[in-house]
Symmetry: C2
Subunit: 220 residues, 2 copies
DNA sequence: ACAAAAGTGTTACTTATACACCCATGA
DNA sequence: TCATGGGTGTATAAGTAACACTTTTGT
């Protein structure tokens, strides 16, 4: 009545104005692309296991992480019973410092629209994570976890358009976000662009957390 | 590297205009009140285990259930490593047919405000479930799972006031709910009350599900 | 006749939506 | 000078919030 417990991580990144996903090439059967993850050790918490796997398999640390769902169907791994606690994470492009491919490890970013065949029920896990991210974006400022520290307003808008799957009005979007009081101008401007340079903004996380404490609800 | 996996269930009921919670008296150490639940068997899915435990420990079946969160801290059970996948459920008062207390089993409803000392991290689990329920109530019509099939508008309002923790305007609430088109009059009225008899309403789940399919979003 | 809850509309206010022109910069 | 994206305000529509009196029924 004991079984193996694993963690699997759906790691989202945003680059080239598209959502990307980190996958690992499995070296043992089933040989296929899969989510980063692995078994939880006897003496480590779930979050510790997640951080360890991300470090070992992807060379990524300090990531926004959240538990997604636990997948426990009897036959999800045809070889033996494995319960998988799935997490999803959001990383900024600066953190995209993947480990070099080695004999035993290949990690790669894929565009979300063009994923390869996946091992086990990992496609289901990804679907759920994507849905969750889309929902979350409307009531928590998760978008900033995917952008570099300094960004153009148009970057932010494009990200939200990508996540929500619909176009947003430029003026209304700017008004809305600025009225929330959680992004601020850095004072810097875009350099060397063949058009009017845009201002760079920054997410004020500290201020956001204070506001949340005093009962503020982010809502798009 | 294998471990025990359990399910624990936070079962909410609504009675006497208050939220209640089902707890089980443990007969073995630690002797204390605890959430219904138990170990997942090798050959059963998580949901199957939840249904089995609810049947065995509380005599309850056919319940609205949703996975809540997985609790996996190394020391959450001081005796051995146990990962617990927590679910929460909502039941209608009609279903309140608890098993009789026996030598080996005692199940009891508690008012949410006056819970006894609880085993393990079950107080944390309950807190999270309560938060989740309060959040959910604003964007999904879960309230109807807690009410009898036929209910007064004032019942519905009181339930929502309980869940949200604030008072609602009677006229605005009625307008809002009726405008959604998911509750309908049964034609029946309250009987033998010392005041004007109220109309009994019913939740039209079928219609709600059709509306969701065509892109409708419940929102309070 | 009184107590207790049911039923019912209108107005003010706040928030969301729709929409178009000028600006700065590098090529 | 042209192409490209940046920056800005106003009017209308929709939705939310506030609010009080009359009705029905049993005691």
């Amino acid at each position: 009545m004991t079984m193996r417990v694993a963690v699997d991580i759906v790691l989202f990144g945003y680059a080239e104005q598209r959502l990307h996903l980190l996958l690992i090439r499995r070296k043992y059967a089933p040989i296929a692309w899969a989510l980063p993850g692995g078994f939880v050790l006897e003496d480590e918490d779930l979050e510790t296991a997640v951080a360890r796997e991300l470090r070992e398999e992807a060379g990524v640390a300090n990531v926004y992480l959240e538990q997604l769902y636990t997948f426990g169907a009897v036959a999800r791994d045809p070889r033996r019973r494995v319960i998988s606690v799935a997490y999803y994470g959001l990383v900024k492009p600066e953190q995209f410092t993947l480990l070099a491919t080695t004999d035993s490890l290949e990690a790669k970013w894929f565009r979300l629209e063009t994923l390869p065949e996946l091992a086990f029920d990992h496609a289901d896990i990804i679907n759920m994570a994507h849905q969750r991210l889309r929902a979350k974006v409307t009531y928590q400022p998760v978008g900033f976890e995917l952008l570099p520290d300094k960004f153009l307003f148009s970057d932010l808008q494009r990200l939200y358009e990508t996540l929500l799957g619909r176009e947003l009005d430029r003026r209304n979007f700017r008004k809305k976000i600025l009225s929330l009081g959680i992004v601020e101008e850095t004072g810097e401007k875009q350099q060397n662009v063949a058009h009017r340079a845009g201002s760079l903004f920054r997410f004020n996380k500290q201020r956001y957390e204070e506001m949340v404490k005093s009962g503020f609800y982010f809502e798009l």
